[in-house]
């Protein structure tokens, strides 16, 4: 082991170390297990060795992209957060991870990628603003298409339309799943006692983005916020394992708020308004002159003098047709 493994993942925002569920899961697991990863937080998936995020480049040059593969790889390197678990607890981990994937993940995909308002105002905007220019034009749309295909295939219907009915069904499952998790967690600090395990990483990865994103349509978010122990569980992990991300975010919250409101807050507003009005008037005048709607005639001084009877204010003549 000469060089440490390198992890490529999405940048963080909203007080999270990363905005993506899979990236968050791996980051959390690596922290829990104490794995020394060299983390590259990027916002250009084409710069990752696999072309998608997250990706782990191992010291041998292998590239892994599925979260479960990455966790298995870390486990083989002796960075195991599940070392203390009994076999029965290991079995529970597997079962609850399946529960998350089958019940909660489809609803999360719907909330972030299919619900119109959330997608346009939060998801697409975040990815488009963070990606470099030409990618930001088409990659968010392509990511959405991928998510939609996955959602429709997972549900087994070919035609999938965003609507009341689909939303109700997905949210019903998701709320049930969150209730089950909340009941399983109870008053514990983590799912299996006092130290975190891979299940905690998975649950954190799925719930934290939902908890922290500022979604305009926050039905599912409200449900999560009403479950106090799960909310507390997420903020506790953030506080204990990602203290810098939380603080960084607080400090540049003010600046990001100013940036965030780009549409309403433009510096030198008055000057820009006057300038743009002048440019517009200039352009209109130029157009009028060039096409001959407006013409300026110079009447010679001599001509005026020779015909003193004419009024002097006929210097400019406007013709309209």
């Amino acid at each position: 082991m000469s060089a440490p493994d390198e992890l490529f993942c999405w940048e963080g925002d909203w007080g999270l170390p990363s905005v993506d569920t899979d990236c968050l899961t791996i980051l959390a697991y690596a922290k829990f297990a104490g794995a020394p990863l060299k983390v590259h937080k990027i916002s250009n998936p084409w710069r990752s060795p696999s072309g998608s995020l997250p990706a782990l480049r191992t010291s041998k040059g292998e590239v892994l992209s599925r979260p479960s593969d990455i966790i298995i790889h870390l486990r083989k390197q002796k960075y195991n957060a599940d070392y203390d678990l009994s076999a029965r607890e290991g079995a529970d981990t597997l079962a609850f991870t399946s529960l998350l994937e089958e019940k909660l993940l489809p609803a999360l995909m719907y909330t972030f990628w299919m619900e119109c308002k959330n997608y346009v105002e939060v998801t697409r905007r975040w990815y488009a603003e963070h990606m470099p220019f030409p990618l930001s034009l088409f990659l968010p749309g392509r990511m959405q298409a991928g998510q939609l295909e996955r959602l429709s295939l997972a549900r087994g219907h070919n035609a999938l339309e965003a609507g009341e009915e689909l939303e109700k069904e997905l949210y019903h499952d998701a709320v049930e799943c969150m209730n089950l998790l909340s009941q399983r967690l109870g008053a514990n600090k983590f799912f299996f006692g006092d130290s975190p395990s891979s299940l905690d990483a998975f649950v954190f990865g799925h719930l934290a983005p939902l908890l922290k994103a500022k979604l305009p349509n926050g039905k599912l978010q409200q449900q999560l916020k009403s479950l106090d122990n799960l909310t507390h569980f997420c903020s506790n992990i953030l506080l204990l394992y990602f203290p810098t991300d939380g603080r960084e975010n607080l400090s540049h919250k003010a600046s990001s708020q100013a940036e965030g409101g780009d549409f309403d807050h433009v510096p030198n507003k008055r000057r820009k308004q006057i300038l743009s009005a002048l440019v517009a008037v200039g352009a209109m005048l130029a157009y009028a002159l060039f096409t001959g709607i407006l013409s300026i005639q110079h009447v010679h001084q001599r001509a005026i003098e020779s015909s003193p009877g004419l009024p002097a204010d006929e210097e400019e003549e406007e013709e309209e047709d």
Binding site: R66, A87, R88, G90, A91, D92, L94, A95, F96, S98, L99, E101, E102, K103, E149, R150, L153, A154, G156, E165, K168, E169, H172, E176, L180, L181, Q183, R184, G186
Partner: protein, 259 residues
Amino acid sequence: MSLAAEAFVSQIAAAEPWPENATLYQPLKDDQILLSDCASSLAVQTYLRMCGLPVQVACKANAEYMSPSGKVPFVHVGNHVVSELGPIVQFTKAKGHSLSDGLDDVQRAEMKAYMELVHNMLLTAELYVQWCDDSTATEISRPRYSSPYSWPLNHILAYQKQWDVRRKMKAIGWGGKTLEQVYEDVSQCCQALSQRLGTQPYFFNKHPTELDALVFGHLFTILTTQLTSSELAERIRRCSNLLAFCKHIEHTYFKDKST
């Protein structure tokens, strides 16, 4: 089934008792049915037997197209048609038959989680072996699936089904897996189930739940079905308590049929 319809059904269902002529539909047992459908069907039958609800099994070549969700099996009870184990469990619950009432909140959460584990790993692995392993797909799945249809429809339908399943595998990230990795997943799943079961007769001690029905349906079908390779069954045989569990349930609920 939509949620609104579900709520409506459960209101009406509560009023009527379970009829004598309830019917469960599945594809043809000898020539057509595939491992995954057979397992789901057996799970539902086991569940209904555990509840003590009588049901007749009807084999139809077009069962898949009769089902409201496109998945088999489905039951026809009075005026209602309900498909798949999850909705059927809710439906019987509305009629006052439930196996999981004695569980506390944490146990119910665990039961749901393990049921998803079976769906997520065992069922997906069955589908993978059936349609993504070339030798199984050519020798068993495609000929059986299309047996009721004549040329050229049989080829069209079989390839269409295979194409659908492969797309689904790709979407959930199983596309790049090898057969060996899938067997490894099955082992992992069986070990988890075996750990959870321990030495108890059922997953939640003395009383059977829908989880027991689901696990029995899948394990028993894998153990008793001939595939091109017996690897899948071998992986299950390594967990001796699961074998005993299957024998015990077969003995308790299918005594009359066990010839």
